[in-house]
């Protein structure tokens, strides 16, 4: 129960975004020949954060 709640909090805040990216990469890109290389945690986070702030994100 506690573990599940913690997992949800991590997911909601993006704390586990890199782990999720890794598994997405493993499923979708690892087998491709021309796939882009796996990003490091630091590079991934930079991309992820910049990507989050496109468009209207916050309201009144």
């Amino acid at each position: 129960m506690f573990k599940q709640v913690w997992q949800r909090i991590r997911e909601l805040s993006g704390d586990d975004a890199y782990e999720r990216y890794q598994s997405h990469y493993a499923v979708h890109h690892a087998q491709q020949i021309d796939a882009p290389p796996l990003l490091s945690r630091e590079d991934f986070f930079k991309q992820w954060q910049d990507n989050q702030w496109k468009g209207v994100k916050r309201c009144c």
């Binding site: 949800r8 909090i9 991590r10 997911e11 909601l12 805040s13 993006g14 704390d15 975004a17 890199y18 999720r20 990216y21 997405h24 990469y25 979708h28 945690r41 630091e42 991934f44 986070f45 930079k46 992820w48 954060q49 910049d50 990507n51 989050q52 702030w53 496109k54 468009g55 209207v56 994100k57 916050r58 309201c59 009144c60």
Partner: protein
């Protein structure tokens, strides 16, 4: 439905109806806040279980077997099939801003009843429906934005109107929110130093999660929240330190300039340094405080002291001028229906849904929760003694600058309050004065502090008060940062049509130019608001309300148009009814703001009155010096209101023209809905 379930829902309906009749018919000294909570929860539950479910099944015809854009276009970046609770969290964090806290606080001048009823009815019939159908239509169109949908489905006019409307709302919203923060910090070293401290704290958090421990978002946020709580405590020390406190003790104008400079910096600096970390902190604070407030209200069951309806329904209210109809609807704004939500519901949220059935919980349910936040803000405002509430929220221009005059005026309305009582209250809250602290934040903070103080210890009142101010300021400033940035992107997008280079988001001269223009836009309204002896909120908030309702009307027009085009004319009332109501209130309010003879309502009337006074030389020198600017501003506001109402009518008529053509089998634009693909999830 089984017989037991039928009985349970029947009982819930009876309880809800009883609670509503209690809050509507009660005419005693005070009423328990739990009645408002009960009425709200019963109404939400029934609306969600029956109305929303019916809309989802019969009107929208949700198809659980259909693959969502998140599944079809999954790219691990913006299109990601996501658990519904996570999407709900993101969606709610995005839609819930300071609006539902400020609106009900101001609308409480009519008494607790009118605002509460509109928060409940407006959300169930209007706001939640708008959010849900917009989310649905956007999801069926690969997550297209409201503006794109308006252009694709109705025509170029609607699309352009949505774009321009959004931009102008942003400008006015940021100005009024900036004004709320300025009024909360004015001559309050504690509040000012605490709010100022949130800037370096956000930067520390930003550097931590970018460079020190990349991607460790929760660690960084925990550090940030701890520092924020510490900054509330440290603000108290600053306040008690004779040398330090003068650094943070300022008039409104320097504080407004500081916010303008800050807004510019936030729009130009990289997001990771200020905007993103501040947003994390504000989201945690927001969710935490709302939860805490709900728990405190349920444990404490505070008494509401404000009458159900006050005499100010006649339009003579001190906080803002104008009669109950239409101004209670304009003032409540976001807690009942907010056009702004349609931008979120057609932005990131539709790209995350893993199944169509989730839209009821996320679209409809998300808005119900927002409406509940507005109910809590209403409770926090009305648990104050009405005399105290009016003393805090009435501008000096209405009740007089001196405490003794203000008290006499408020007593003459039949609300008891004394100078000593206000002085004691200010002392308890660690402020020098609480008279004429307009904008809603201070009175909400006093209300929250007294609720928290009763629940968790009275000796900490001043800490709770400044905690509440910090909590409001941090997410007002987040909206200000994010809004300025979005405004900048929109402007760059528009200018890019004329000169390609200006459209590049990383081209520095363009960044500086567009950021300056956006900041100058809201900075102007903020400046005028600060120099206005009536506090400015009384002008800016209705303007914001009108603009936001106009955007909601555009969203509902798009939805109604799509429903008719999909051959669902007989169901088009689900968006048609709230649309009609919004058109009525927005048009009436705009008409009154432009043409009313009452100087506290009509912009031209106010401008003419001030001009006459200036010409005859009856104004004191300090007022005479700012009068020309105020006169100009009243004219500008009148034309802006006119512009909003014209845009509204153009969009509605364009939608009706399209519907007429469709019903008479003339050509209309083809539906841009994507074709069916079965889900594999």
């Amino acid at each position: 439905m089984t017989i037991t379930k039928k009985i349970i829902w029947g009982l819930l309906a009876v309880l809800g109806a009883y609670a509503v009749s209690v809050i509507a018919l009660h005419r005693g000294e005070s009423i328990n806040a739990l009645w408002l909570i009960t009425a709200a929860l019963c109404i939400y539950a029934i609306a969600y279980r029956f109305y929303a479910a019916w809309i989802a099944a019969k009107v929208l015809v949700i198809d659980e077997t259909r693959a969502t854009p998140a599944e079809r276009l999954d790219n691990g970046r913006d299109f990601i099939p996501t658990n519904k609770w996570i999407v709900f969290g993101h969606h709610f964090a995005a839609i819930a801003g300071p609006g539902p806290l400020v609106g009900p606080t101001l609308a409480a001048q009519f008494g607790y009843l009118p605002g509460t009823l509109w928060i409940l009815v407006g959300a169930v019939i209007g706001g939640a429906v708008q959010d849900m159908v917009t989310l649905f239509f956007s999801m069926r169109r690969n997550g297209r934005s409201l503006g794109q949908m308006a252009r694709d489905e109705i025509g170029v006019i609607g699309g352009t109107a949505a774009l321009v409307g959004t931009f102008l709302i942003m400008i006015i919203l940021i100005a009024v929110l900036g004004l709320v923060v300025v009024n909360a910090m004015k001559h309050s070293p504690w509040a000012t130093s605490t709010v100022a401290a949130t800037i370096p704290i956000a930067m520390i958090v930003g550097v931590y999660m970018r460079n020190i421990r990349p991607g460790r978002v929760l660690e960084a946020s925990a550090i940030g929240v701890a520092l924020l709580l510490f900054s509330v405590l440290a603000g108290g020390w600053v306040d008690h330190n004779a040398t330090l406190r003068v650094w943070f003790d300022h008039d409104g104008l320097p504080l407004a300039y500081a916010i303008i400079v800050y807004g510019f910096a936030a729009a130009v600096l990289p997001v990771w340094l200020l905007l993103a970390p501040r947003d994390y902190l504000s989201t945690f604070m927001k969710l935490g405080t709302v939860l805490l407030l709900a728990v405190a209200i349920v444990i404490l069951r505070p008494e509401i002291h404000m009458p159900a309806v006050t005499q100010f329904t006649d339009g003579t209210g001190p906080i803002f001028g104008g009669k109950l109809f239409p101004f209670v609807f304009i003032t409540i704004a976001c807690g009942a229906i907010s056009g702004f939500h349609s931008l979120i519901a057609s932005g990131t949220t539709p790209k995350l849904l893993s199944n169509e059935r989730d839209i009821r919980m996320i679209g409809y349910g998300g808005m119900l929760l927002e409406s509940f936040v507005a109910i809590m803000a209403m409770i926090a405002a009305t648990v104050l003694e009405p005399g105290v509430f009016f003393a805090i929220n009435s501008p000096a221009g209405v009740v007089g600058k001196e405490a003794i005059d203000a008290v006499a005026k408020i007593n003459s309305w039949g609300f008891a309050v004394t100078v000593e009582q206000m002085e004691q209250l200010a002392k308890d809250m660690g402020e020098s004065t609480l008279f004429a602290r307009t904008g809603g934040a201070p009175s909400l903070a006093v209300g929250m502090a007294s609720i928290f103080g009763n629940a968790f210890g009275k000796h900490l009142l001043a800490l709770w008060y400044h905690f509440a101010i910090m909590f409001e300021a941090i997410f007002i400033l987040t909206t200000l940062d994010a809004g300025t940035r979005v405004g900048r992107f929109m402007l760059q997008d528009m200018l890019g049509n004329f000169h390609k280079k200006l459209g590049e988001t990383s081209y520095m001269p363009s960044v500086i130019l567009t950021s300056s223009l956006v900041v100058a836009g809201w900075g102007y309204f903020l400046y005028i608001g600060v120099i206005d002896p009536n506090g400015g909120v009384n002008i800016l908030w209705p303007l914001f309300g009108i603009a936001n309702q106009m955007l909601a009307a555009i969203a509902l027009s798009v939805a109604t148009g799509i429903l008719v085009k999909s051959g669902k004319l007989k169901y088009a009332w689900i968006t048609g009814v709230p649309l009609t109501w919004l058109v009525i209130i927005t048009t009436t309010a705009s008409y009154q703001k432009i043409f009313s003879e009452d100087v506290r309502v009509g912009f031209f009337a106010a401008a003419n009155d001030l001009s006459a006074k200036l010409a005859s030389g009856v104004l004191p020198p300090d007022k005479a010096s700012v009068a020309p600017q105020l006169i100009f501003n009243q004219h500008l506001d009148a034309y802006l209101t006119l512009f909003f109402v014209v845009v509204l009518w153009v969009v509605v008529l364009d939608m009706l023209r399209m519907c007429w053509r469709y019903q008479n089998t003339r050509g209309v634009l083809p539906s841009s809905e994507t074709t069916y693909i079965a889900t594999q999830l």
